[in-house]
Structure formats: structure tokens, C-alpha cells
């Protein structure tokens, strides 16, 4: 008896229930789907015909999840635009670079301090540095913060974070997937993946007119078939030259973002991204054995503390540099603390390359904590600001500054 469809259907029912609960509580669905995935799995009971172990269908669920990663990164590439980057002001460039640098360096330090080898440390530093664009945008809209003065800076920093993610994933996948141990072999592999990325940049800049013509397809049906064919083929091909398939999807998204069909592709991809993305979070949870969570608990908690500190400091510095008040700057750090889909994708790359399996429960706990805590902190930013204000006496400083300004004005 082949119950494959029933098993996948059961998984989808669980995903749907998780998504509905998350929606009712007004939370991102990411942490809920991971938790549900963790609860079921090989250790779960079988109830009559409902098999919650998902042993038979594990492979197909993992594969659907892989497709989810492709769509998530393809969409990230589409959203990206070189034009937007050039337009982003000095404040965003400085704030964004500083944010990424601080998180990454602290991540490296943390990885070494807890005694991880270099490869694992790089992955940890990477996943600590990428905040979740999806959760941050949702928090800003839900908390009605879109009108606030710090919002442009937050979104700009996130954009920078996404660029870092693309560069980091490309180089690290060359480094980890090379399969060779000699320095020369690894360097060659890294150079290949960086060269591959540059090739895509050139195609994006120079090939846009040609692509515009080729993709000028009236029928939606044919259009989507062509786009998906290119997406899967390029992603699969990338894998053969040691560039992770997800990077292939991301780079292809970048190429399409420069064409005039960008919006049309975006609209078509969103439902697929949402559906397969949800399966991906569930499959990630499914791949975790709950008994390993205890081993990773302190490791994750430490990483959460590191991230909170790094985010507060980076947000405060970026905000103050851009001339925002202390209150608005506090909001920056608290809002971009959320971690989600991209951290899991980075961890996945490490797991694929056969690194220490503790990375999976570590990332799961880390993302769970910050996907839930991040939005909560953002919501309670006023209380956090009041508390910090007691320590740093910012309000008095602001008053003194005003008095100074008035004095200067009176003198003149």
C-alpha cells in the first residue's frame, strides 16, 4: 500500500493548522511550522491510517522543502535591484555595513570561544548576521511603524543584509562544497563560485534587452513554464560546479530583476514561494530530533544574547549617525533582531556540506527564540527605551542639547 499522497496531505494539514494558529496570534508562521515539524517525525505515534512518523514520505517532503528554498532565494534575487542600492544614501551604506560587520565579527568570536572548528564558525557567524526580511517587514506593518523616521534606515539595512547573504552564501558554498582539502583546491573552488556570480552580474547588466525580447510571452501558462524551467535547470546546474543550488536561484533572480518582466515574475512566484516555503520550514523542523535540542540549548542562548547586544549597538550607532533620536535608534536594533528563513538556509548549507550536526538543533532554537522574541521586543520598544534611558540618561542629554542650541541662537 502506497500512502504517499496521504502522508504529504497529512503534513500539509499540519502546516495549515500551524499557519492558522500563527495568524490568529498575529505572528510569523516560521517558528510555528518548525515547532510542528519537531513534534512529529520518527518518534511520533501512528494513529490508525494517519502516520505522524513521515518516514515513508520524508524524502519527498524534504524535496518539496528544497524547492521552497529555491523559491525563497529566487524571490530575494528578484526583489533586489542595483538601482535601489545606488539610490540608498550614505547613512544606509554606513549603517548597513557596520551592522553586518559587527554581527559577523561577534559571530566569529562566539564560534571560536565555544570551541567550534573554522568551517562551523563561519556558518554560525553567517547565520547570526542575516536578519529575516519577511519578519521585519511584517513587524513594521503590523505595529504601524511604517511612518516612523527610522523605517527607511531599517529597510535599507535589511537590503544590505540581503546583499551580504548573497555574497556570503556564494563564497562559503565554494569553500565548503569543494570536496577538496588542499588550499589550492579550495581556492579554485571559491574562485569558481565568485566567477560564476560575476558572470551572472554581467548577464544581468548586458543581457537585459535580449531577455526582455525572449520573455515577451503573452500567455501566462507558457510564461510560467519557461521561467520555472530556467529556474530549476540553472539551480541544478549550479550544483554541478560546487555552487549551492540556492545560490543559482538567487543569481537567476538577480538577472530577472533587471528585466522589464520583473513584476510579472514576482506576482507569479509569490504563491509558490509561500506554499513551498512553508513546507521548507516544516521539513526543517522534521529533520530535528527533539532529544538533541537539550545539547544545543546553551549554545543557542549564548548566540541569542550575542545577537541582541550586537543589534542594539549597531542600531543605536546607525540611527544616531543618521541624526535620529535615541528613541528611534532603539527601535532599529529591536526591530532587526528577528531571525528566520535566511539563517536556516545558511545552516542548511553547512549541514549539506557535512559539518557538525549540532548546527541543526542550534539553528532551530536560535531562530525560534529570535523569531518570537524579535517581534515582541519591537512591540515593547517603549519599555526597553525607558529602561535604557534610566541607565544612559538620554532624555537629559537631549534637553541639554536643546538648551545649548537655544543659548547659541540667543547669542547670535
Amino acid at each position: 500500500m502506497d500512502h504517499l499522497v496521504l502522508e504529504v496531505g497529512t503534513a500539509l494539514v499540519l502546516i495549515a493548522i500551524g499557519a492558522m494558529i500563527a495568524n490568529r496570534l498575529n505572528f510569523s508562521i516560521i517558528p510555528f511550522l518548525i515547532i510542528i515539524g519537531m513534534i512529529v517525525g520518527p518518534h511520533a505515534p501512528t494513529i490508525g491510517i494517519i502516520d505522524l512518523t513521515f518516514i515513508e514520505s520524508n524524502e519527498i517532503i524534504q524535496f518539496l522543502g528544497r524547492i521552497g528554498v529555491l523559491f525563497l532565494l529566487f524571490y530575494l534575487g528578484l526583489e533586489f535591484s542595483v538601482g535601489k542600492l545606488i539610490k540608498s544614501g550614505k547613512n544606509i551604506v554606513i549603517g548597513g555595513s557596520f551592522y553586518v560587520a559587527l554581527n559577523f565579527v561577534l559571530g566569529l568570536l562566539y564560534g571560536r570561544i565555544v570551541g567550534m572548528p573554522w568551517s562551523e564558525t563561519l556558518i554560525i557567524a553567517g547565520l547570526l548576521s542575516v536578519s529575516s526580511s519577511a519578519i521585519v517587514a511584517k513587524v513594521l506593518v503590523d505595529l504601524k511603524r511604517t511612518a516612523n523616521p527610522e523605517t527607511e534606515l531599517i529597510l535599507g539595512m535589511i537590503l544590505f543584509d540581503d546583499i551580504f547573504l548573497a555574497l556570503f552564501l556564494t563564497t562559503i558554498s565554494g569553500f565548503l562544497l569543494s570536496g577538496s582539502t588542499s588550499f589550492l583546491g579550495i581556492s579554485l573552488s571559491v574562485l569558481t563560485s565568485v566567477g560564476y556570480m560575476l558572470l551572472f552580474f554581467v548577464v544581468a547588466r548586458k543581457g537585459a534587452p535580449l531577455l526582455n525580447k525572449w520573455l515577451n510571452i503573452k500567455s501566462d501558462e507558457i510564461f510560467i513554464i519557461v521561467i520555472f524551467a530556467i529556474l530549476f535547470f540553472i539551480a541544478g546546474f549550479s550544483e554541478t560546479i560546487h555552487v549551492a543550488e540556492a545560490i543559482g536561484a538567487l543569481l537567476l533572480g538577480l538577472v530577472f530583476s533587471e528585466t522589464e518582466h520583473r513584476d510579472r515574475i514576482e506576482h507569479l512566484v509569490i504563491p509558490f514561494r509561500d506554499f513551498f516555503g512553508a513546507v521548507f520550514f516544516f521539513s526543517f523542523g522534521l529533520s530535528i530530533d527533539p532529544s538533541t535540542l537539550i545539547d544545543a540549548f546553551w549554545l543557542s542562548l549564548g548566540a541569542v544574547v550575542v545577537t541582541l547586544i550586537a543589534n542594539m549597538v549597531a542600531g543605536m550607532i546607525a540611527g544616531r549617525r543618521a541624526g535620529l533620536s535615541h528613541k528611534a535608534s532603539t527601535n532599529i536594533g529591536l526591530t532587526i533582531t528577528a531571525r528566520g528563513e535566511f539563517s536556516i538556509i545558511v545552516a542548511n548549507l553547512g549541514i549539506t556540506a557535512g559539518l557538525n550536526p549540532i548546527l541543526t538543533p542550534f539553528t532551530a532554537l536560535y531562530v525560534l527564540m529570535l523569531a518570537i522574541l524579535g517581534p515582541l521586543f519591537a512591540r515593547e520598544s517603549k519599555s526597553v527605551y525607558k529602561w535604557l534611558n534610566k541607565v544612559f540618561k538620554w532624555d537629559e542629554k537631549a534637553k541639554n542639547e536643546k538648551k545649548e542650541k537655544l543659548k547659541v541662537a540667543e547669542k547670535n
Partner: protein, 164 residues
């Protein structure tokens, strides 16, 4: 009034407005068509006092009310309202203008200027009514005319305003 426009990647577009009274107003147009209006504290430009969320349709209706389509403020002589290139203008005919005491049909406004007279409000009544070719234009009447900006300018300078 000071208006600053900025893009919110992945969310939409934001307009920050500081009015002459130093009130801060922010309008966010979401990519899904929703509009949000935020009113900030005049003493602390970081604090939102209140906000309103509107659907696309509601926003258009309110824009019409704000733009003076439903009720024209008494203080204004002329109001204009734009739909892309098409403008609707309220104009009070000046005394001794070329069009005074002439019939709309005789002036041949539509083919001469490419402008349509949508409504006419007689000088001493509050009601607007639909003009026909036999309607006579008098000084002090308010005409509601629609056309392109250039055509509107032309008809106002040639027919409806006092040349002396």
C-alpha cells in the same frame, strides 16, 4: 508646506508632510493598495498620535472630499482637480469677460477649445445644474469645466476673464 517622498522597499511608498502649522503628517501607500495616514505629535516628531487605515476605494473618495469635489470651500475662487492629464476647474466668470451674456452653444466651447462645461452654478443660487447649449453665461457664475491643463488655461484667458 514641506513634502518628502521616500521608497519603502517591499512595503510601498511614503510621503512625509510638514504643514505650515508645523503639524507632521505621514501618508504610506502600500503596494497592495491600502493607505495609512499617521498624525504625529507636534512637539515630538517621533511619536504617532493617531493613525487611519483606508482601502484604495476609501482613499479615493476621501481624496475627492479633500480636493473640494463634494463641497467647495467658500473662500476659494477656483479649485482644480486632476485625473492624470484631465483637470476639472471651478472658475467664477469675471465681469466684462468676453463670454458674459452669451449662450454656451453660440460660443461653441467644445470644438473651439476642446473643453467641456460640466456644470454651472448661477451667481445667486447654491445649486449647480446641467448646462445646455441655450444656457446663458453671466458675470459671477461659476463654471465647472474639464479639459487638459493647456486648454483650460486658454479658455479662461480668452473667454472667462476680464481682458481690460
Amino acid at each position: 508646506m514641506n513634502i518628502r517622498e521616500s521608497e519603502l522597499p517591499g512595503i510601498g511608498c511614503k510621503f512625509e508632510i510638514i504643514t505650515r502649522n508645523q503639524d507632521k503628517l505621514v501618508i504610506v501607500i502600500h503596494d497592495d493598495g491600502r493607505r495609512e495616514i499617521y498624525h504625529f505629535d507636534s512637539d515630538d516628531y517621533d511619536e504617532v498620535v493617531s493613525s487611519v487605515t483606508l482601502s484604495d476605494q476609501e482613499a479615493r473618495q476621501i481624496a475627492g472630499i479633500l480636493g473640494g469635489m463634494a463641497y467647495k470651500p467658500k473662500a476659494l475662487e477656483s479649485v482644480e482637480f486632476a485625473f492624470d492629464d484631465l483637470i476639472i476647474e471651478w472658475f467664477q466668470v469675471e465681469p466684462n469677460a468676453p463670454a458674459v451674456n452669451k449662450k454656451i452653444g453660440d460660443l461653441d466651447i467644445r470644438s473651439q477649445f476642446g473643453v467641456t462645461v460640466i456644470a454651472i452654478k448661477k451667481k445667486h443660487s447654491q445649486k449647480s445644474h446641467n448646462p445646455g447649449p441655450d444656457t446663458v453665461i453671466e458675470a459671477g457664475d461659476t463654471l465647472v469645466i474639464s479639459g487638459e491643463r493647456q486648454q483650460i488655461k486658454e479658455i479662461i484667458s480668452k473667454l472667462l476673464s476680464n481682458k481690460e
